[in-house]
């Protein structure tokens, strides 16, 4: 069975339910933490720095606002896929007990994809409400950013989980944060347009999932949709199909010790 088909397995939803039950107990602080920090970046750069800059006809804050949806999805999924899943695997015996029941590591990974889809959608949706409150949303197409957030959650979860299932100590997760997700946030087209960057850096940006998701978020928020966006969507879907397999062997290996 492939990991995307496993999303429809009963056990994947049971894993999701377990994560949801655990999350419910600290939901408030989790939401507060996941919203406050990106909000601070948004306000500081969008309004603070943005007061000195304009991007053609648009303001910087208008440019950043939809990008924050992609960033919210990236942060929400990455943090729990790395830190949370590492603990569920190595400290809390969560997966260890699951595989004593008739559960395959594949179904655990699929359940985690679902869970990160939920987190990304929830935290991204809160951000959508916030930027709508600032009058920065201009189209009903914005509602389609909810399924896109879910898709981003699944996609960003995959490398995060792979890292969490691979590393030997929790400190090594910082390699992933420092060398992958943070630089990706910088060059993913969230904070500034990429057309003045050197060509090679633009090519690297094109290789990141964040770049493509932000392109679509920006169009959905402004309402200026173009057929080209279908290529960005296709990019995301292909990436999901390819990366879905990556975390599973690492998890299987750790759990078979």
């Amino acid at each position: 069975m492939n990991p995307l088909a496993a999303i429809f397995h009963r056990n994947a939803w049971n894993v999701f339910r377990r994560d949801f039950m655990a999350w419910q107990k600290y939901a408030f602080s989790s939401v507060a933490i996941n919203i406050f920090e990106p909000m601070a970046w948004f306000l500081a750069i969008g309004f603070g720095l943005g007061a000195y800059l304009t991007l053609g006809k648009s303001s910087l804050v208008q440019f950043i606002a939809p990008g924050m949806l992609g960033l919210a999805a990236l942060n929400a999924a990455t943090f729990d896929a790395c830190w949370g899943a590492y603990e569920r695997l190595n400290f809390n015996g969560v997966y260890e007990s699951m595989v004593t029941a008739p559960v395959d590591p594949l179904e655990i990974a699929a359940g985690e994809y679902l869970w990160q889809a939920f987190r990304a959608t929830l935290y991204g949706a809160i951000f959508l409400v916030v930027i709508a409150g600032f009058g920065l949303v201009h189209s009903w197409w914005c509602l389609l950013s909810l399924p896109l957030l879910a898709l981003c959650g699944i996609l960003f979860a995959m490398p995060g989980l792979a890292v969490a299932f691979l590393v030997k100590t929790q400190e090594h997760l910082f390699y992933y944060f420092s060398f992958v997700t943070t630089p990706m946030a910088m060059i993913g087209g969230v904070f500034f347009p990429l057309d003045k960057l050197p060509h090679w850096l633009q090519n690297i940006a094109w290789c990141t999932p964040l770049y493509h998701s932000v392109q679509i978020f920006r169009a959905l928020i402004s309402g200026a949709l173009t057929p080209n966006l279908l290529w960005d969507l296709l990019w995301l879907i292909v990436a999901i199909a390819l990366l879905a397999y990556v975390p599973v062997p690492f998890l299987r290996n750790k759990l078979a010790r």
Binding site: R10, N11, N14, R17, R18, M21, A22, K25, N92, G93, V94, E96, S97, M98, V99, T100, A101, P102, V103, D104, L255, A256, R257
Partner: protein
């Protein structure tokens, strides 16, 4: 295939290697339905690796391992559906309550909703955990945690319960409570497979056991037959007396003897007769301990009294 006729577990030449390290070395054993079977040994003897293969957490390197007549490597899902597992560290979810731990686990067996809630309440009651349903795991004592783990393992009405060191780290009262529960399960016809390094525990609970050391099985039998074969009914420990130096004839009263530090161990059928004989040979009222032989003597005879590490 009539799997109900097969033994609960059957292993032939079962071997497990982790890289270069051979944890289990071509062992043979067979566990009958409804018996309590023990794996005895020190840490690192290969007990836990053997258990992990039985409950399909890890697969064998070579040899044969059938559970309920099914190849453990080929049918993990079918086997796991019919067994209950209590791991050494309980593996309880600290982010959930006691009841949630059982209910989440139940969901993996397709037990959900009202059925799961009713079953969870009943199991926690059986394990004397009433009032602790909503407690977080961190709030529970070691004995309570173990009982939650056992309750969870029972949620699918298993035919066989696999317990890895079920009482390690528990205080004496909690240990007795777990023993009583295990005896109840045995009386209900549940096959029990357990590891232990407590000889007393194995003697009390196990119908049959194997003694493992360094990945191999050294001996197999009932606790009584093992004592008969590898020790003697009784042991006389003489303190500070070297019989060899005194050249005392023992007239066949002693099956075997060994000396370790200041203590001479005499394995005998009858301590009273042996003491009388020693008195008539001029060793009257020696400092001694006279006791029945235990599995501990068997174990130490087989693996040596010196510290291995």
């Amino acid at each position: 295939m009539p799997t109900h006729a097969a033994p609960a577990v059957e292993a032939r030449g079962l071997t497990k290697r982790y890289g270069d390290f051979e944890a289990v070395r071509a062992i043979d054993f067979s566990i009958a339905r409804q018996e309590c079977f023990g794996f005895l040994g020190v840490n690192g003897a290969g007990k836990t690796s053997t258990m992990k293969m039985i409950y399909c957490r890890t697969t064998k390197t070579s040899g044969r391992l059938d559970v309920f007549g099914m190849d453990a490597a080929a049918h993990p899902r079918e086997i796991k559906a019919r067994i209950g597992v209590v791991t050494q560290d309980n593996a309880l979810d600290p982010e959930l309550t006691a009841a949630e731990n059982v209910m989440v686990y139940a969901s993996f067996f397709g037990i959900t909703g009202a059925t799961a809630r009713a079953k969870t309440a009943a199991l926690l009651r059986t394990m004397n955990l009433e009032g602790k349903e909503r407690a977080r795991i961190a709030e529970l004592s070691g004995g309570m945690k173990r009982r939650v783990a056992i309750a969870r393992a029972l949620v699918n009405d298993p035919e066989m319960l696999v317990l890895d060191e079920p009482t390690t780290g528990l205080d004496p009262q909690a240990r007795l409570a777990v023993w009583q529960q295990l005896l109840d399960f045995r009386a209900r016809g549940i096959t029990l497979v357990m590891t232990s390094h407590y000889m007393e525990e194995a003697a009390r609970l196990c119908d049959r056991l194997v003694i493992m050391d360094d990945g191999r099985i050294l001996a197999e039998g009932t606790p009584r037959s093992l004592i008969e074969q590898f020790a003697a009914p009784e042991v006389l420990e003489l303190i500070g007396i070297d019989l060899g130096a005194l050249r005392v004839p023992l007239d066949g009263l002693v099956r075997r003897q060994e000396r370790h530090g200041e203590i001479t161990y005499l394995y005998t059928d009858d301590n009273a007769a042996l003491l009388a004989h020693l008195a008539s040979s001029g060793i009257s009222a020696p400092q001694h301990v006279a006791r029945p032989a235990t599995l501990e003597d068997v174990f130490l005879n087989l693996t040596g009294r010196e510290l291995a590490e």
